[in-house]
Structure formats: structure tokens, C-alpha cells
């Protein structure tokens, strides 16, 4: 593919307006190849042991500094999917930025968790790992084909504590069960993931972003209303548009007075969240969210926000 033509005009225009001087760097990084990353599955294997074992076979890793159990793959002897250790469920292939939301959610052992948009299960399996297979995770996915992949990943990773449901996430607010923690890793325009999928900009449009933003707003209300008092919600997307992130959080804060944003304490490079955009001014506390561009940590772009339900 000729790299020059990958970024569509619409995509470029949007991010030029949003990022201004930094747009050029964002475009450059969006076209740089991305190393694979893996998360060691401590439900099945000791981290040190598996890393030493893979290194003996010729793998070379850099430890990812901002999440536990994460490694960037610098060299590998053959394709990851062909390795015995992958087959055995000793690790999961997952982009480093995508490892952040479960760490921010950080559910306690024995809690009741809802992962409302769960397939293919990168974050469900990570949450199970944090909870050491205790408690319950309701992993929801409306699309059957994606649900099958979710199921097989949950199985391969040795996760026992899940119930897989197939529902529209918007209907969770109506169920009687309330949750200690909810993760909404929302369907999005994936504008932060061009490095992984160079077709994204071609499919990307402002119209789609607006449509997704509407869905995300409905989903965040449903997610928040599924929390019990003092419960924690983490909202994340692999997009870096304002409509899909800050605007969605602002909408929740408008609609629910008991929603309060909490600061995320992770040592990594990040960008300031956007507090003013196209005549809109957003709630000041949104500055505590995490906005990551590909150039910050040599990852995908991501947005993560931690919200508490206070009474």
C-alpha cells in the first residue's frame, strides 16, 4: 500500500483541526509499524518462567513499563499463533494501550464485574487475571460471531469465573443485578489504531463518528446505571476523537449527578484531555482522564476515564 494515500482527507482534516501543530507527528506515528505485545497469563503460568522459556527459544522482549505482565515483542522465531505457549494459553496477544483499562478498573477479588462490550475478550481475560479467577465477570457481546471468539479466548486462558451473555449493552440498566465494577470498552471508530489496520482511515467518516457517539452515550448511561453505590466504571475507546470520548463523559456528568471522575495514576506519557471543542465546553474534571496518542508511548491511541458512582 502506498503510505501517502492511506490517510483520507476527512481523517486528516479532522485531526489537523484537533491536534494543530501536533497533527503531523500523529499522522507520522499512525503510519509507523507496530510491534506485537503479549500479556502473560498468570492464571496458568509463572511470568518469569515463561519469559525465560521463550527467550531460550529466541524471543526478544522489552518489558512494558506501565502495565504488569505486558511485554513488547522485539523478535520472535516464528509467527506467534504457531507457538506452543500461545496454544497452551500461557499468553495473550494484546496491544500495550489496550492493557490499560483493566488495570485502571482494578477490581478486587470476589467482586461482581460487568464487561459490557467484551469480545474478543482481551480485557475480560485480563480482569479475570486481576481477580485471580474469583468473583463473577458477566462478559457481554451482542454479535454471535464475536461472541464465539470471546468464548474460545476465555477458555484458552483458563478463565472460570465468567458468564457470557448476548445482549444489547443498552438493556443492562433494566436488569436487577447491580455490579461493583463495570467496564465499557465501547464500539468506536478506532481512529487510534491505524498503525494496526491501515484500512481504518478509508472507512472513517465524521458521520460514523457521530453515530457511534450517540451509541456510546446510551451505553455509558446503561453502564453507569448498572453500578451499585460506590461502584466504579471505566470507559475506554481505541479512538482519539472528542465526540467519542470527552463528549461522552461530559454527557454522563450532565445526566448523572452522582458520577465523579477519578484521577488515573499511571506512569506513562499522555496528552491533556480536550475541554473545549466546537463551541462546547466540557466539565473541568475531565482533565483527569487519560488521552494517549500513538507517539506518546509507541502504542495505539487510546482514551480511558475512571468514574465513581457516589451517593
Amino acid at each position: 500500500m502506498n503510505k501517502k494515500n492511506i490517510l483520507s482527507k476527512q481523517f486528516k482534516d479532522y485531526f489537523k483541526e484537533l491536534l494543530q501543530k501536533e497533527a503531523k507527528e500523529f499522522f507520522e506515528w499512525s503510519l509507523k509499524p507496530l510491534n506485537s505485545c503479549i500479556r502473560i497469563n498468570t492464571l496458568k503460568i509463572n511470568e518469569k518462567e515463561i519469559i525465560e522459556r521463550l527467550e531460550k527459544k529466541g524471543w526478544v522482549f522489552n518489558k512494558i513499563s506501565f502495565v504488569p505482565n505486558g511485554y513488547k515483542v522485539i523478535e520472535k522465531p516464528n509467527p506467534i499463533g504457531k507457538s506452543l505457549e500461545h496454544l497452551l494459553g500461557y499468553f495473550y496477544v494484546q496491544e500495550s494501550a489496550s492493557m490499560i483499562p483493566p488495570i485502571v478498573l482494578n477490581p478486587e477479588k470476589h467482586s461482581i464485574v460487568l464487561d459490557i462490550a467484551a469480545a474478543p475478550g482481551s480485557k475480560t481475560t485480563s480482569i479475570a487475571q486481576i481477580m485471580k479467577n474469583t468473583g463473577i465477570i458477566v462478559a457481554n457481546e451482542p454479535e454471535m460471531n464475536r461472541l464465539r471468539v470471546l468464548r474460545s479466548n476465555i477458555q484458552r486462558m483458563g478463565v472460570i469465573n465468567t458468564i457470557i451473555t448476548r445482549m444489547d449493552g443498552r438493556s443492562f440498566r433494566k436488569i436487577p443485578q447491580k455490579f461493583n465494577y463495570v467496564l465499557l470498552d465501547a464500539p468506536c471508530s478506532a481512529s487510534g489504531t491505524v498503525r494496526r489496520n491501515l484500512h481504518i482511515p478509508k472507512m472513517w467518516s465524521l458521520k460514523a463518528v457521530e453515530k457511534l457517539s450517540k451509541l456510546q452515550k446510551q451505553l455509558i448511561l446503561s453502564s453507569f446505571d448498572s453500578l451499585e453505590q460506590n461502584g466504579t466504571l471505566v470507559y475506554s475507546t481505541c479512538s482519539v476523537t472528542v465526540e467519542e470520548n470527552e463528549e461522552v463523559i461530559d454527557f454522563l456528568l450532565e445526566k448523572r449527578g452522582t458520577a465523579k471522575i477519578e484521577k488515573i495514576n499511571l506512569k506513562l506519557k499522555k496528552h491533556e484531555p480536550i475541554l473545549e471543542w466546537k463551541e462546547n465546553e466540557f466539565h473541568k474534571s475531565i482533565k483527569n482522564a487519560l488521552r494517549i496518542l500513538p507517539q506518546d508511548n509507541d502504542s495505539e491511541g487510546f482514551f480511558v476515564c475512571k468514574i465513581k458512582r457516589v451517593e
Binding site: 499463533g81 506452543l84 494459553g89 461482581i112 463473577i136 468464548r151 472460570i160 465468567t162 443485578q177
Partner: protein, 151 residues
Amino acid sequence: MAIIISRNEKKELINYLKERYSLEDFKFNFDFLRSGKEKVWIIPPEFNKINLDKMRIEFVGSYFGSYDDKYFRLSVEACQLIGPFAKKNFVELDEENLNKWIHGKNILEFNSINLTKGYVLIKNKKDFYGSGKFTGNIILNMLAKNRRIKD
């Protein structure tokens, strides 16, 4: 329709597995769910903590294995759970045979001392790769396609 298996059925299954693999120290501290006549799942241990009203459930817990006539075939994950405790009916494969196994091929040459007909655990060093049906001569490979390595 999935049902939580009765106390008697659970006891029978556990006794069968304990006997077959000589599992003295393994603790079966979980319950099982069965769908249809054959397939058995491990239920999340804290399953009763949650109100399932109005949820559309597709799957629960982890696939444990299935009844096969008078035998029981353990899933890869079930083998990994109980494997380290097994004292019999497991086969140590060398690298060549392991390579056959993960490609879905039957195993024809192996040390069959201490094996009895039925499902045997497939092992290489510390790793367990599921179970195969020992017929008396060969080990039949029934690994699901998504648990094999594709070329």
C-alpha cells in the same frame, strides 16, 4: 438446556476421574453444569452470588469435558488443572510426537506401560496438551481444530 449436575452425578464423575488418574491430592472444589447428555462445564465458584434475572445467557464458566460412552474426555484446560496431580494414564510425548499431536494426528508409537483403555493425558515436560483416546494400540487425537497448530 443446561442443568447443574446432581450431587450423585458429581460424586460419580469425581470418583471416576480420581480413580482413572490416581488423583490423591487434587481438590474438586467446584460444581459442574451439564448441557445435553454429554458436555460438562465448571461453574464459576461464586455463581450463586449473582441474580441472573433478565440476562440472556449463552455460556457459563469453563468447558471441562464430555462423556464418551463409559469414558470421560477432559478438555485441554481440565487436563492442565488436574494433570500435575495425575499419577497414571498420562503419556509423555517426545518432541516428534508432540509435533504430530498439535497438528491433530493420532499417536502410534509411545510407551504404553501403565495405560489402560480410555482417555489419557498428553504431556510434554510440564505442559499438558489435552487428552486422547487410548484404544489399546494407538492414541486417537480429537483435539478441536482451534486447539491445533495450523501450517
